[in-house]
Symmetry: C2
Subunit: 343 residues, 2 copies
Amino acid sequence: MLDERKQRVLQAIIEDYILTALPVGSRTVARKYGLGVSSATIRNEMADLEEMGYLEQPHTSAGRIPSDKGYRFYVDWLMKSASLSEEHLRRIHKGYQKKAREIESLIQETIKVLSEITDYMTVVLGPQISRTKLEQIHFLNLSANSALFVVVTTVGFVEKCIVDIPESITSDELELISEVLTHHLKGKSVEDITRSTLSDIRMDLGKYQDFIAASLDLLEYLLNQRKDERVWVGGKTNILNQPEFQSIEKARAVFSVIDQEELVRDLLSAATPGSIRVSIGGENRIEEVQDCSLISATFRIGTDTYGKIGIIGPKRMDYSHTVAALECVEKALSEVLCRVIGA
Amino acid sequence: MLDERKQRVLQAIIEDYILTALPVGSRTVARKYGLGVSSATIRNEMADLEEMGYLEQPHTSAGRIPSDKGYRFYVDWLMKSASLSEEHLRRIHKGYQKKAREIESLIQETIKVLSEITDYMTVVLGPQISRTKLEQIHFLNLSANSALFVVVTTVGFVEKCIVDIPESITSDELELISEVLTHHLKGKSVEDITRSTLSDIRMDLGKYQDFIAASLDLLEYLLNQRKDERVWVGGKTNILNQPEFQSIEKARAVFSVIDQEELVRDLLSAATPGSIRVSIGGENRIEEVQDCSLISATFRIGTDTYGKIGIIGPKRMDYSHTVAALECVEKALSEVLCRVIGA
DNA sequence: CTTAGCACTCCTCCCTAGAGAGTGCTAAGA
DNA sequence: TCTTAGCACTCTCTAGGGAGGAGTGCTAAG
């Protein structure tokens, strides 16, 4: 374990580096972060910290920068929890006071507000819709041969799609089909639909067999393939503001990961319910983002359905402020969702 | 007007520059684009072309690069219309064969395919929903105190939103309200709703006055503020692949424009129905994108509702290929839309 | 254990010189 | 009159070298 003074030196170096992005020298630590000892003493401490793996030296005559292990120690032990400025708090609450109460626009708002107040990149992973329970399935008649197919699941997810309707099916029949489908599928997830469910439906609606089959296909496509664990990204351009990404190459490496939904899902698998998690540099398994840190959280939608939020910035990111922002936003979001869904 | 040989020289320079992004010298033109004359002759022609404003010289001992005027001449007179590769054609048609027929996912697909096959950035401007006619308004009962508010407009736009319902309103009453609202508002656009419409509705549904007022507010918010002339952007990271945007500064300038929806609308005001339009460099009024060119088109949704597509790349973009791609995609999209909407 | 002092290392910046690319001009040839 | 070879000239780009500066590690004294 590090003694008191080593901790203070480490903290000073990390905080200065977060601020300036420049290697920190012993003189700076001694002068700016009055520890009451000379730079020579600090130098000895720094040499020790380097040997222990908390610091690194870009080259012999440069100051030190934190290593992953250093950041980890900082996050776990040294970091003081920050509180958000009045302005940021106002911004967050303003965002959620809008009229629209759909999950989708709430998620959009979440991304926007987090990108704005942190100046990093935000990603959100939607819940596994395929595992939520179906609540209602309805065909809303639009014209003689088209209808709006609406699927609602328990956690307030609504998917819709315009479909062709055989001329032979009347408006009343559509109503009936809607009712039967809802009756048979309510409380089931898309994954739960089995052969026996299907044959039950066929029993009741044999007459419309083809149409039903097509509708169920569509249902599966809507909830399973297209929207399941959907990925949203925002604040992408923010990372161009970070000095570590001035060299296009690095920026491109990060973008190349973020542009692949699969990899984003992989990254966010780090998020665990109930707490904010910080993944620093090499702790992320994807190579291209090992110069980045990820701060992640989950938000609850309904009883046991979770979405995930991640904030991606340079390793040198302002951890305490970002954690505070994510905490606050997650809370506000969960509250609104709770109210909206009534769970 | 330029004589035959000057045109061929100009064309050679532009095409070489598009390929290499390097100033083109007289030797290169003479050798690679066999015009049957020596480099000295080409040099004279180039000096003439420069004097006439078609070419520019970065510095005395560099080759020439095209000016805006040069590109303009190339696009208007010299460019041969390209045809897309088999592979690209397949990619385009595959994209539109998916099941989902919503306008929104079609637009997403359009952006994706164009960004992929051109390697530039794509923006789409949705139609002015506020000016399309309302087709149906429906409350779909979800629970004792919530319903799904669905609004459909003639061009196949569907907006939805979960709303709270006073306990006092029953399922049957909701049905009635839906019918009355649809009856009064069908065929009107949001902009068309007048005081007299409102008082007509109040006449029929006075009992539910507060609820109706809230619903109409929401309607206006959904169609007018939130989704009207919506902006989609894709392929943002592509521009980092262009050599002219290696210096973060320039990339940031472009992003800063693209991130502001108002400016994108402004940019795309260049698009005119019926033809593909090319805006080169300074022809764009927004300063930050004067190093870029914009190729734009409109696509028809319904009878007289238009959306706009724009492809943004460096001035040195491959105009003929991009125009061909946009032409083809626009056609495919319009066809699908035609079929879907049945207009 | 702390600290002042000092030699040392290595990066960064700036300057210069040389190479290379491409030009414009000139004069000769068709 | 148009074309072309030849050549001097201009300007950029790159490599190399030295000065300056920041920061270190070590040593010896307090």
